[in-house]
Amino acid sequence: MSGICRAGARGVTWYGTQRVPRGGAVLVSNHPTDHDARLLAGAVAGPILVIRQLGDRVGRSWGVRAMDFDHPGAQADLIVLALKRGLKVLTFPEQEPGPTLRRFHEYPAELAERARVPLVPVGIRGAYAAATDPDIRIRFGEPIPAGTPSTTTVAAHAAVMDLLAEDSTSWWQVQQVRARGEDPSEAVESGANWLRVWAQTAAPRLGHTPPTRRIWR
């Protein structure tokens, strides 16, 4: 397949891998499950360093080093050096897995600013309830140039939100919604967990026509 749409492991499809720049970059992804690092393995060429927040179980079985995003210490210098040398770093700024998109920690953006490399937003959809017949779609967005961490973090969060919305509707719909100044987030207002899972695992609609109203959201 071309770089536009590539097949990963069974049931996993990557979109937009051609947008990942050559050289160093910090990949920031939403974090629906403990297996997200494995889902992204092989999506980009070259070695990739995965870092996880203390308490986050992602990649633990591989020996992925945990660090405290609030107090990174000397490890940060090594990671910045690796980025400057062209390595890619995969992070999960939500810090722990969950079915909906939550607030991002600013640490990945700080790394990107120190190393002067871009942030690449990644949206994973369909992983939360993947069981016997997974249909997981992973989308890579346009790189975000390094800047002040707070601004870049907000931009990365919005980009990941757009990627998730793009997967559940269409890219053109997301563009139109953003142009109207609206929020394309698919986050469910209700706090009920089963509704969040329902929204996360809904099949994407083809085309860009709005869906008809149904009883079940």
Partner: protein, 510 residues
């Protein structure tokens, strides 16, 4: 720094040279004194194609920025070059997907309600769904295809055509648009932004008025004038560098004396494979091959301004100066042309590529003298795609045995191919070329047929060559022997070293 094209005169030390013989290549030793025309290497690519696209859309030539032009637009039509160009296809993601996304982002910001993306295939076959996705990208395909807003043009559907003037009809998506953005991907002179509109999205009658036998040269300008006066058009040209073969075929893009050990090994392996493999396997060796194209420039704005700038750049890229015309011109078809994308090369396409495309790559004076001889390397296998070449197979089997005279063909057979309901059905629903497509190819080779005293095909099927009205020879030496009746025993011989680029002969005065 790219190296310019040049002319090499062979001597006794010159090794065998690559000669295209689509599908495939041959290594051929040329007679001493043969002039070999090597194309220029690619000019420098833009360092960042995204930046080039954004800059072109923001500061166009002879037009307001696209963002301004989109203000107040409710219906937008995006016309896009189809998969016929470039041929072979691009490696990796297609540049059209990137440009379309950029344009659509601006359209979304301008709150454009209705967008239609139309492929300008003209009388060529329509594209399949997977081809559309490869071309436009997953984002655009998924956003528009299932709602019927991304599709190939149909020149025969009168109810989806809008008549602008007498003899000028266009696809209704274009005719009813508030703004048309014409995205033209080009790497060759002649594939202009305006021509994509006049032939790619017009009705059958309008397109044929420009493609028929000896058309009036003013017709194209008239059609373009009618289109641009009826709907505003914003032109975008993406100018590509000559393609570079990738993978095991990359030796084809290098000059023979610069081959490394692995290139020589690859050349030997390919030659061996082409010799012993059956025809289907030979075709597959080149069928899925792609090339790496760089973006030389992105021009946007008014059609005339954009075309002028693109023509200037492509002339600088392709022109190779030579002195005088030769007595014999040697060439061969490329493995994939715009008329056999993802299909076997039939004899008509092979003839078109040599006698229309290569022969016609000049700036006013052909590379071979009037009364000279063309020698072409091609097998001319009598193979036609069952899906795409419905009309071409019938043309070859039924029309050419009766006559090869283009005027007689026009008078006796053209109406049948233009109106036959089966050909129309195949074109409209089954992805076949239009019924008039084989006649388009046949008419296009007539200037070469009239210009040359003989056309000889080396290594060709004798029956196929005879059907086309040409002669066949087993070897180059035999072909030159046959040609000696016309050009003598010591002719001036010129080889177009074409793969993968066409050479533009600019100066050929005695």
């Amino acid at each position: 720094m790219s190296r310019p094209g040049f002319l090499l005169e062979t001597d006794e030390r010159t090794p065998e040279l690559l000669v295209p013989a689509g599908p495939g290549v041959r290594m051929q030793r040329m007679p001493r004194g043969t002039e070999v025309l090597y194309p220029s290497e690619a000019l420098d690519r833009v360092p960042d194609s995204l930046e080039a696209i954004d800059k072109a859309l923001a500061t166009p030539l002879g037009s307001a920025p696209l963002r301004t032009r989109l203000a107040g637009v409710r219906r937008l039509a995006l016309v896009v070059t189809d998969s016929a160009r470039p041929a072979p296809a691009m490696a990796g993601s297609d540049i059209r997907a990137t440009v379309l996304e950029r344009i659509l982002e601006l359209a979304a910001t301008a709150r454009v309600d209705e967008v239609t993306v139309l492929l300008a295939n003209g009388l060529r076959r329509k594209m399949s769904g997977s081809e559309l996705q490869q071309l436009t990208g997953e984002r655009v395909h998924r956003s528009f295809f299932h709602d019927g807003k991304l599709f190939s043009h149909d020149a025969t559907q009168t109810r989806s055509l809008t008549t602008l003037a007498d003899g000028v009809s266009v696809n209704e998506a274009v005719g009813q648009a508030d703004l048309v953005i014409n995205l033209n991907v080009t790497g060759e002179l002649g594939h202009t932004n305006g021509r994509q509109l006049t032939r790619g999205i017009t009705g059958q009658q309008t397109a044929w008025a420009q493609l028929g036998l000896d058309p009036d040269p003013a017709t194209e300008d008239r059609v373009l004038a009618e289109i641009t006066s009826a709907v505003p058009v914003f032109a975008v040209d993406v100018v590509l560098s000559p393609g570079v073969w990738t993978g095991p075929l990359r030796f084809l893009s290098k000059r023979e004396w610069e081959w490394q050990l692995q290139d020589r090994a690859a050349a030997a392996a390919v030659q061996r494979a082409l010799t012993i493999a059956p025809r289907q396997t030979r075709r597959r060796l080149f069928a899925g091959a792609t090339q790496d194209y760089g973006v030389l420039a992105v021009h946007a704005g008014g059609i005339a301004e954009v075309t002028g700038r693109t023509t200037e750049l492509l002339s600088a890229q392709q022109s190779v100066e030579v002195v005088g015309q030769s007595d014999v011109l040697i060439t061969g078809p490329a493995s994939t042309t715009e008329h056999n994308v993802d299909a076997v090369m039939n004899p008509l396409v092979a003839a078109w590529d040599c006698l229309a495309h290569s022969f016609g790559s000049h700036a006013g004076t052909p590379a071979v003298r009037p009364g000279g001889v063309m020698i072409c390397f091609a097998p001319l296998a009598q193979a036609f795609s069952a899906r795409f070449d419905t009309a071409a197979a019938d043309f070859f089997a039924e029309v050419l045995p009766e006559t090869t005279d283009a005027t007689v063909i026009r008078d006796r057979f053209e109406a049948r191919f233009a109106t036959d309901e089966w050909y129309r059905h195949q074109y409209a629903t089954q992805g076949a070329h239009h019924g008039l497509h084989p006649l388009e190819l046949w008419y296009a080779i007539q200037p070469a047929v009239r210009h040359c005293s003989d056309i000889i095909w080396v290594g060709a099927d004798r029956a196929a060559a005879a059907r086309l009205g040409f002669r066949a020879a087993s070897t180059l030496a035999d072909a030159l022997e046959i040609a000696s009746a016309q050009v003598g025993r010591t002719p001036r011989i010129r080889l177009l070293h074409t793969p993968p680029v066409r050479v533009q002969v600019t100066e050929a005065t005695a």
